[in-house]
Symmetry: C2
Subunit: 493 residues, 2 copies
């Protein structure tokens, strides 16, 4: 854990041990892209990384990049998409989206995908048709968000936009391998095992460098054009998480690298950068695969449904977490429960050691209601309305897709406890520094802090709520806005 010091005045710097035009703090998806674009624009760039090598959290992730608007893969797989549909989806599916970032990202999404390919990130031209949180194979295109979920399906034509790098299972490392190879080809200096703990400002309060330590030695590094913060979120900093996301004190599986300690965000805050939406987070309840469980319904402790069960798993997790006492049950009938994958599902959740607990099986809905301790009549009323509508191919409450709609009327009925603290919820942080789309860090009043840029999870970007999340949005945002920050910093006089 890097402890951040208050900014140092340039006049107090004993001597500059290093000088470059741009310092990039953190060598993951955002940092590598920022460095590449800045160096190609002619800037002299140094990357500082606290770990022993590059990769960051991007190298640990599944490897989805959320792109749309008609990528080569979407075209090859016959999924029409447009920049406008992508934009409308982004601004409607996330309640307080940054419209400017969403517009830029949508308009340039195809270009960004092609740029990633041109850097050597491998993507196949095929489609994985199943409902899954991460395809197990090396196929590319997959539905990874709430595109088909009402009401978003009505404001934007749905299209699959998760583009996975061509590797089995988790494939984020393939993205980073390509980006780091390109960095290696350029005259970009890299310093590992180097913890940046202090910004340096001049008399005009412009950020002009950083103080860092490597193997116990202190360095003062000047940045003539700017410092770009790309050092990740703060899920591993438990005091910060307690300060901003108190619900995460429950049993959440922290998802990130050990260096997601908030130090980059704190560096920005130390010079007046506004840290915004710090309570927002990704939280997921990965209740599929098997996809057939989507035929079930989710109810809270009042026996009420609360979300369309065909939503992306983070939208489901977010909704479940907001129910009374964070309690929720997944209710299925025999047709789902006898799915061949069910035992694997119950006993071995994908990518976790934690199982979702099967807590009751009863011959009737009334019996299940009673076994779960739900108020009498509530689950029965919910099922009666759900089944009557499902039989007609309708869900007038949450508009669940007909793909996953059929009456639950084949006893026995079973329930899984998917409450927060009981089921394997996975979380990470989404709050970060307030930035322009081009990376400039802003203060609480919206003024630019000269010489300072941020991207990736050091900023608050497109992924800014679990409700609106889609797999690949973080990597898409980090790499795209990392590039923009690199170019912007390089263009500084």
């Amino acid at each position: 854990m890097t402890t951040i010091q208050r900014p140092l005045q340039e006049s107090e710097v004993p001597d500059w041990s290093h000088r470059s035009e741009i310092l990039v703090v953190g060598y993951g998806g955002a940092g590598s892209c920022a460095a590449l674009e800045a160096a190609r624009a002619g800037a002299d760039v140094t990357i500082l990384e606290v770990a022993g090598g590059g990769g960051g959290t991007t190298a640990l992730c599944g490897g989805h990049v959320y792109c749309g608007g008609g990528t080569p893969v979407q075209k090859a797989c016959d999924f029409p998409d447009s920049a406008e549909d992508l934009f409308q989806f982004l601004i409607h599916s996330t309640p307080f989206q940054d419209d400017q970032k969403a517009r830029l990202y949508s308009d340039r999404s195809v270009e960004h995908f092609e740029w990633l390919e041109s850097q050597g990130v491998p993507f196949r031209r095929d489609y994985y048709p199943h409902r899954h949180s991460l395809q197990p194979d090396a196929t590319c295109l997959i539905w990874t968000g709430n595109e088909k979920v009402w009401p978003f399906s009505e404001v934007a034509r749905p299209a699959p936009r998760g583009h996975k790098a061509a590797g089995d299972g988790d494939a984020g490392h393939l993205i980073m391998r390509a980006l780091m190879e390109r960095v290696d080809e350029l005259p970009i200096e890299k310093r590992y095992d180097t913890a940046v703990d202090r910004l340096i400002v001049n008399d005009q309060q412009r950020v002009v460098g950083v103080a860092a330590s490597q193997y116990g030695e202190r360095f003062y590094l000047r940045a003539d054009k700017g410092v770009i913060l790309t050092a990740g979120g703060f899920i591993m900093n438990h005091p910060m998480v307690a300060n901003h996301i108190p619900d995460f004190k429950k049993d959440i599986l922290d998802h990130g690298s050990p260096y997601d300690d908030g130090s980059g965000i704190q560096l920005g805050m130390s010079v007046g950068g506004a840290a915004i939406h710090m309570s927002e987070h990704f939280i997921t309840l990965p209740f599929y695969p098997p996809a057939d469980l989507t035929f079930g319904i989710l109810v809270n402790r009042h026996g009420q449904r609360f979300v369309s069960e065909d939503s992306y798993h983070a939208r489901v997790g977010d909704a479940a977490m907001k129910q009374t006492d964070h309690m929720a049950y997944l209710i299925v009938d025999d047709s789902c429960f006898h799915h061949p994958d069910i035992n694997r599902f119950v006993h071995e959740m994908p990518r976790t050691d934690v199982a979702i607990e099967h807590v009751a099986t009863e011959g009737s809905i009334a019996g299940l209601e009673s076994a779960l301790g739900l108020p009498e009549g509530t689950l029965q009323a919910t099922l009666a309305i759900y089944n009557a509508n499902a039989a007609k191919g309708k869900d007038p409450i949450f508009h669940k897709s007909t793909d996953w709609l059929r009456p639950l009327d084949q006893p026995p009925y079973a329930a899984f406890d998917v409450s927060l603290g009981r089921a394997p919820y996975v979380g990470f942080t989404l709050g970060g520094l307030s930035t322009r789309a081009t990376g400039e860090v802003l203060d609480e009043q919206g003024s630019i802090i000269e010489g300072l840029y941020a991207a990736g999870r050091n900023s608050c970007g497109l992924p800014r709520s679990a409700e609106g999340y889609a797999s690949g949005l973080s990597v898409g945002d980090a790499t795209f806005f990392g590039r923009l920050a690199g170019r912007q910093a390089a263009s500084t006089d």
Copy 2:
């Protein structure tokens, strides 16, 4: 709006125009109490206030102080209470309460009430028995929180704890009048029209003073013992509100003084103070009086109940705001609707110019369901379950008190639109600097920032969510922890 500058090094101060031991920034409830206690402990105190006189937001409020544990008023009115019950209520009714602050406040609540009285704040020894957001007369004791609401009613013996200063209507000005009279009796310097926009730190990063402006002139004021920030919340700073509480972009009535601009919080942040729970807020849906509307039920756009309708109005507003599309309806039958006060209620909300809109009257529940566009069968199922249980004096879902429980079965049935953006929601901010109970400001990692204290809404105190709010909690917290901060700063060597 005061624009906050980054901290100034003491070595850069041209000359100290003023020197005292303690500077109090903001002269409302917290600031006055901090100044009083610090001065009585022998410290040389100066108050800096941006407005033309003292009072702050406390002078504008209703005048409730939330106290318990057996105050003289509780005793006179025969309501038994204990410090332990108060503590249990505080930690259970607010999801992420600060246990240390809650414990101190509970143990010393009677002493604090008596202290306020000894300062000259007038409190009668009587009880207002009706369900009301603010009693119209000068009576003292009133239920102002969720004490009788399940499940809190089961963990702590309920007692009324709202103590209103003895004045008709809004009475906060009586609290401030007494406190300011006591300040006037002591050798405490007061400077009005003085905007503090910068902290001054020494080489050890200790806060040693402030920079301020008065009538265009710049002053540098030294504080040998400490600076106490008591300058209010940030509801009037719209960029900050957009950064942290995006839902407030809807039609919220901002509640506060014009100087609740977040400048005190930003001053603390400028030296590394952690601003915590910045997304938390008070939000209320004042749907009573008339209290008889509590016999109604609240449903969301899915026809589901979502909160016990006998909850405190902020708990109701918070729950309503969290429903799909922020939509909620109040459903009543003829027995409520024909209440003599109903017209006054509908056309003239207390303390606002906005009315809650009556949107439908129908002869049957099915008709009302249809008129509101609720999914078929949903409101009917909700009412069927509610009425069947109410007839037996039960509410197994939300455990609404039997005081407000009777079947809604007297047609016609009516609905009011109480959705956010349609009904008169009132809001203010609750996030603020992370502090010890004794006022020391903490950084993100929990370390003390030397020389800096905060109280009132410059800190995150006992009132830290709408869900757990009770009228009088802000004034109670501000005055009590203001006192503690004043004493702590005065005790500094």
